[in-house]
């Protein structure tokens, strides 16, 4: 008994779109970050599903790398959000808009 790979792809695409939707609609920097994490995990779902499908481990190992990098990204992101809060007293990503045009 195995689930066809198409389903995983659909799942990951749904996750990806959910994440994208979050990015486009949320103004809170933390939500933005979470949405990005969802998108990254969508990729992870794909990777692991395809690794299973193709029968090699590359995808799985790469998923681990992706997770590690995602964590690092979050760490940097949180640091930036912290200084953002200190400077703007807010974590709304639409507030800093002094530089434009």
């Amino acid at each position: 008994m195995s689930v066809p790979v198409d389903y995983y792809v659909l799942l990951s695409m749904a996750l990806f779109c959910i994440g994208l939707f979050g990015i486009l609609t949320r103004r809170n920097a933390l939500m933005f970050l979470m949405s990005v994490e969802i998108m990254l995990n969508a990729a992870n779902v794909n990777l692991i599903a395809f690794a299973f499908y193709h029968g090699n481990l590359t995808g799985q190992v790469f998923a681990l790398f992706t997770m590690a990098l995602a964590a690092a990204e979050v760490a940097v992101g949180l640091g930036i959000i912290l200084v953002l809060y200190r400077n703007f007293r807010d974590v709304d990503v639409t507030v800093p808009s002094a530089m434009r045009w």
Binding site: M1, Q60, V61, L64, F65, M67, A68, A70, A71, A72, V74, A75, L78, G79, L82
Partner: protein, 137 residues
């Protein structure tokens, strides 16, 4: 499709049980509003403020460090899985199998040492440090 029906049923039961318990308790309990009940619960102590307080920045620091170092250990995992097999197969020497991971850990140690020395894991500053900070331009 049989297997899928079982899974669906299990999920249904899993959702129904907590919902049922909550609704039963809502129906059975008496409702007596009182200010002390609405107050923030602080292990029986008299609360000193609202729930929306700002945490010490150190919480974030530690949390960030934790996330990073925690996830780095994930990378140890595939290595650990193949380590023994690799050695037993005799195709790689001990150094070739162990060396890269030691290097990896060493780099992590440099990072950790740096974070430590820069006070990322220090909960409070010692008087000497405070003094040093003050003297710094």
């Amino acid at each position: 499709m049989n297997e899928w029906i079982a899974i669906g049923a299990l999920a249904l039961v899993g959702i129904l049980i907590p919902l049922g318990m909550m609704s039963v308790s809502y129906l059975l309990r008496p409702s007596v509003p009182e200010t002390s009940k609405r107050a923030t619960y602080e292990s029986g102590e008299v609360p000193t403020g609202g729930t929306r307080i700002r945490f010490n920045i150190q919480y974030y620091m530690v949390a960030l460090l934790f996330v990073v170092f925690d996830i780095e250990t994930v990378l140890l995992f595939p290595w650990a899985v193949v380590y023994r097999d690799a050695l037993e197969s005799g195709e790689v020497t001990l150094m070739q199998a162990l060396g890269p991971m030691l290097l990896f850990v060493a780099i992590l140690v440099v990072g950790l040492a740096w974070a430590w020395r820069n006070g990322a894991v220090q909960w409070a500053k010692s008087p000497r440090q405070v003094e040093l900070e003050a003297n710094r331009p």
